[in-house]
């Protein structure tokens, strides 16, 4: 005879009494053994108690799968206490992935049709929590019958179950459409809330339902008006606002109904203004309603005055003392910055103040918003603020801040010199966090600004002399000193105080960089090449340089060794060509972020002499070549690999947005691929502002009976193009015309050469992996001309 089992309370007491993790595990394992034994014996009286204990243990994180069949038995039992625990267990332990879950369908069906109200409630609850698609299909009609039951308790739950069913099986929404209209006349707030949620769900899933429900906009407006103007009511008032949850939900539904629809929006305008002005925002409930109102105003095509009102409300929120409200305001302003840029600009000073917040979430939002607000008129002031922020901000925000400042500087720099100063400042403060192409961009910039050569080489030299640890800075400085070393030694430059630099100092500095353990191999390469270039620029003799170069001839790093050996050869056998080879570099066109500047050097050298050993610097491309598909028209096998969106994805895309709203250009779209119902379409857009840019939207549709999963599309273009793939909207296309995947390609074609595009698709269809590689023919001429 087994000892009487513990009650749940006692078990909890015991577990709480355990002093260590190991003790707790012991207690639980002992108890689980008891529970398992009891289940095996099949004791009906205490089953519910055992399962309750098992559920508690499950919540603490221990495996509890052996209780699943017991749930079924308990649900089938006629006693209410059993059913209650059984359903609870079903909700926690059974889900779609377990095979056993379908077995409760029958019990639920019985309980729904014949049970008393609490039992019906339990069954509905369970169905709405863990109902799988098959269960929903079987039980949908039962649920629909319960929608019109007299008792509000059951109706409430039935509505929520209907919401879940529609989420799982959208095709069943037609069953619930007719009842909605009747349910809207409810007075019971609980049922009303459920109905609004149901309608919201229906409208989100199907445009037909959306059109159908636009008719009820006046009714909703009326309801909301009564709520707002109603005085205090004991049942529903929370800190002075009557049923804020219902208000928020109605506002959300109005937002969905009013989107892109003039008529409905007009009906709502007065009401929204009324809610916005009358709601008391001293407590959180009121602020929540006001926030939802603002979101709604911004989403529907509302009157201009209303929009201004909304932005002013957000501005007021920004000055609020409560952090939550400020956070919410910053987030919404971020969403609005593209559409109502000028209105948001008015609040710029407040936003900049928020940068000083100690709270991490707030300062991140403030940073994103500040970066989005930079435009040509305020760029100097904003950059100063952002630079101040960069110095004090936490490390995880530094990368975003640095890239943001650099991008803003690039777009809006009033003068080249200011641009250079800004980049220099960013490099010295947060050098390790900048993106890889910053170096290339800066060298490009300096090379292009003839008048700034002297200035820039001097600034960089002083910066380098102070600190050789920031790698990007060191790289740029080394390059610059190499190119313009003669200007450095000349001694006078109007813009900064005259700096007397000796040749020996310069060489010593570069040697320090070479030897420092902090320097990356790439940096060492830069320094070595710079030393070589100085051999022609400086007037002294080159013994020191020759010495250094010959030492590195036996360096362990292959790259450095190769360079040193070749430079050595330049000194010895080909001295007469040295000056010509090491001339100043011509300005290269903007090759794009991934072209290494060493490649430019090799091109220049190749032009000058074929006999001399061309320092064939291997392309130190930092991005892996994903596809080596296109053997382009030229022999050089290297071509720009597709660039994945950078890790600071959200930030970069945000800054991209004001610059790429593509106005529709009438280029015919192209169907490029079709196989067993899976179709790939390309549509093209040439934004008028940037003649070299082509945007391709790839759309994948699936009209077959099987789902397409793990869909990946890769592309390759000839060498002279640059391709950028943005992240696709997903990797699954459901069967029978499910939601298609779209992906955006950006192609830059500065030379206007004919476009060739090769695509590679991999996906799973009907359970089989499929791989397709093909070239896109018949590209319309307008895409590249």
């Amino acid at each position: 005879m087994v000892a009487p089992s513990l009650k749940l309370q006692d078990l909890i007491e015991e577990i709480r009494g355990a002093k260590t993790q190991a003790q707790e595990r012991e207690v639980i394992q002992k108890e689980c053994a008891h529970i398992r034994a009891s289940f095996r014996e099949g004791d009906p009286l205490h089953r519910h108690r055992q399962l309750a204990k098992l559920l508690y243990v499950h919540m603490l994180g221990y495996p509890a799968h052996f209780g699943q069949m017991e749930c079924l038995k308990l649900i089938a039992s006629p006693r209410f206490t059993d059913k209650r625990v059984g359903y609870l267990g079903a909700m926690l332990l059974l889900d779609e992935r377990q095979d056993a879950h379908l077995l409760i369908t029958n019990s639920i069906k019985n309980d729904l049709s014949q049970g008393i109200q609490p039992v019906q409630g339990l069954a509905l609850c369970t169905l709405s929590t863990m109902g799988s698609a098959e269960m929903c299909q079987d039980l949908a009609t039962e649920v629909e019958k319960l929608l019109l039951q007299p008792s509000p308790y059951v109706r409430k739950k039935a509505i929520l179950t209907a919401v879940h069913i529609i989420r799982k099986v959208p095709e069943l929404s037609n069953i619930f459409l007719p009842s909605c209209a009747q349910l809207l006349h409810e007075r019971h707030h609980g049922v009303l809330l459920g109905t609004i949620t149901l309608i919201t769900e229906l409208c989100e899933r199907s445009p037909a339902a959306l059109r159908h429900f636009r008719k009820v906009v006046p009714q909703l407006v009326q309801k909301l008006r009564t709520l707002v103007t109603t005085g205090y009511s004991t049942e529903h008032s929370i800190s002075g606002v009557s049923d804020p949850f219902l208000q928020v939900q109605i506002l959300r539904l109005l937002r969905i109904l009013g989107r892109n629809h003039e008529e409905s929006s007009e009906a709502m305008n007065d009401l929204l203004a009324q809610v916005a002005t009358n709601t008391d925002t001293s407590r959180n409930a009121g602020s929540a309603v006001l926030f939802e109102t603002v979101l709604t105003i911004m989403d529907i095509p509302s009157a201009a005055g209303l929009r201004v009102l909304a932005i002013n409300i957000l501005g007021r929120f920004l000055l609020h003392s409560d952090k939550n409200i400020r956070y919410v305001a910053l987030m919404s302003l971020l969403r609005l910055v593209q559409s109502d840029h000028n209105a948001v600009q008015r609040h710029r000073p407040t936003v900049v103040d928020c940068l000083q917040e100690t709270d991490a979430s707030l300062s991140r939002r403030a940073l994103e918003l500040s970066l989005a607000l930079v435009n040509s008129s305020n760029v100097r002031a904003m950059t100063r603020e952002l630079q101040a922020f960069l110095e004090s901000c936490p490390p995880d925000l530094r990368a975003d801040c640095a890239s943001g400042i650099l991008l803003a500087a690039e777009r809006f720099a009033p003068t080249k010199r200011w641009h250079m100063d800004t980049i220099l400042h960013v490099l010295t403060t947060a050098g390790t966090y900048v993106r890889d192409d910053a170096v290339a961009n800066l060298t490009q910039l300096i090379a292009g600004a003839q008048e700034l050569h002297a200035y820039s080489v001097r600034r960089l030299y002083s910066a380098l002399a102070e600190d050789i640890s920031q790698q990007p800075l060191v790289q740029v400085a080394a390059w610059c000193i190499g190119e313009y070393g003669d200007l450095l030694l000349e001694g006078n430059c109007e813009d900064i105080e005259p700096l007397q630099v000796e040749e020996e100092e310069v060489l010593a500095l570069l040697e320090r960089v070479l030897q420092s353990h902090m320097s990356l191999p790439a940096t060492r390469g830069y320094a070595l090449t710079a030393l070589m270039k100085l051999s022609t620029r400086l007037r002294g003799d080159n013994n020191r340089i020759r010495q250094v170069v010959s030492i590195y001839g036996s360096c362990l790093d292959v790259e450095l060794q190769q360079r040193a050996v070749e430079y050595n050869a330049l000194f010895r056998k080909y001295d007469h060509m040295r000056a010509a080879i090491l001339e100043k570099m011509p300005l290269v066109e903007r090759g794009g972020p991934q072209v290494d500047e060493e490649a430019k050097e090799s091109k220049a050298a190749a032009k000058l002499s074929e006999a001399a050993p061309v320092p064939a610097e291997p392309q130190a491309s930092k991005l892996l070549d994903l596809l080596d598909l296109l053997d382009g028209p030229s022999e050089d096998a290297q071509h720009p690999p597709p660039l994945d969106p950078s890790p600071g994805g959200a930030l970069v895309q945000l800054l991209d947005l004001p610059y790429a709203p593509p106005p529709p250009a009438p280029i015919p779209s192209l169907k490029v691929f079709e196989r067993e119902g899976v179709q790939l379409n390309l549509s093209f857009i040439r934004p008028p502002g940037t003649p070299a840019l082509l945007l391709i939207t790839v759309t994948v549709t699936n009209s077959s009976g099987g789902d397409v999963t793990h869909f990946i599309c890769q592309a390759a273009v000839p060498k002279s193009f640059q391709l950028q793939l943005q992240a696709p909207t997903g990797d699954t296309v459901p069967a029978q015309g499910g939601l298609p995947i779209t992906q955006l390609f950006r192609i830059l074609n500065p030379n206007k050469t004919p476009l060739r595009l090769k695509l590679r698709l991999t996906y799973n269809h009907f359970g089989q992996p499929v791989q397709e590689i093909f070239e896109v023919n018949n590209l319309p001429v307008e895409t590249w001309q």
Partner: protein, 156 residues
């Protein structure tokens, strides 16, 4: 969409957990400890919304208990904040001045209450609850289970 609803105390012991999307059981404990760590590291002046991986955490502290709700970004954060408080008030009415002990010992009741307080559809009053219009925050106090009875810490 609410992803999960947790009540965790300061030592990291879970008093109530409900996941609205499937999460593996061993990942759950990990998630709970990480969440409570991020909540504990915040001070009183910081805002109650944390961005964690790809969703947001909205938390409120009641004495030694944290109630954390994880949502994705379609939700109105302040409405959820209000919702958390509403839930606590419902518990308060039911247990008449609820404490962490009540929460620990009545898991079945808590689950039933929470089931009636569904995601998106916000609280639907199951238990007859009259929300006092006056100062609901002060009316509900959770006592820390280490000081029996006296200390009532008003909520953040």
């Amino acid at each position: 969409m609410i992803k999960f609803f947790l009540m965790v105390n300061k030592q990291g012991q879970t008093r109530l957990s409900k996941y609205y999307e499937h999460v593996d059981i061993n990942k759950r404990t990990l998630l709970e400890t990480e969440v409570i760590k991020s909540c504990l590291s915040r001070s009183n002046e910081q805002c109650s919304f944390i961005e964690y991986k790809d969703f947001k955490l909205i938390y409120r502290q009641y004495a030694a208990l944290f109630i954390v709700v994880g949502v994705n970004d379609t939700e109105n954060e302040m409405a959820i904040y209000e919702f958390i408080h509403n839930f606590v008030e419902v518990l308060d009415e039911y247990f008449s001045r609820v404490s962490e002990l009540d929460v620990s010992f009545s898991t079945t009741v808590l689950h039933s209450t929470r089931h009636r307080v569904k995601p998106e559809a916000e609280p639907i009053d199951e238990l007859p609850k009259t929300c006092s219009a006056g100062e609901p925050q002060e009316a509900c106090c959770l006592t820390d289970d280490s000081f029996r009875g006296s200390v009532s810490t008003p909520i953040c």
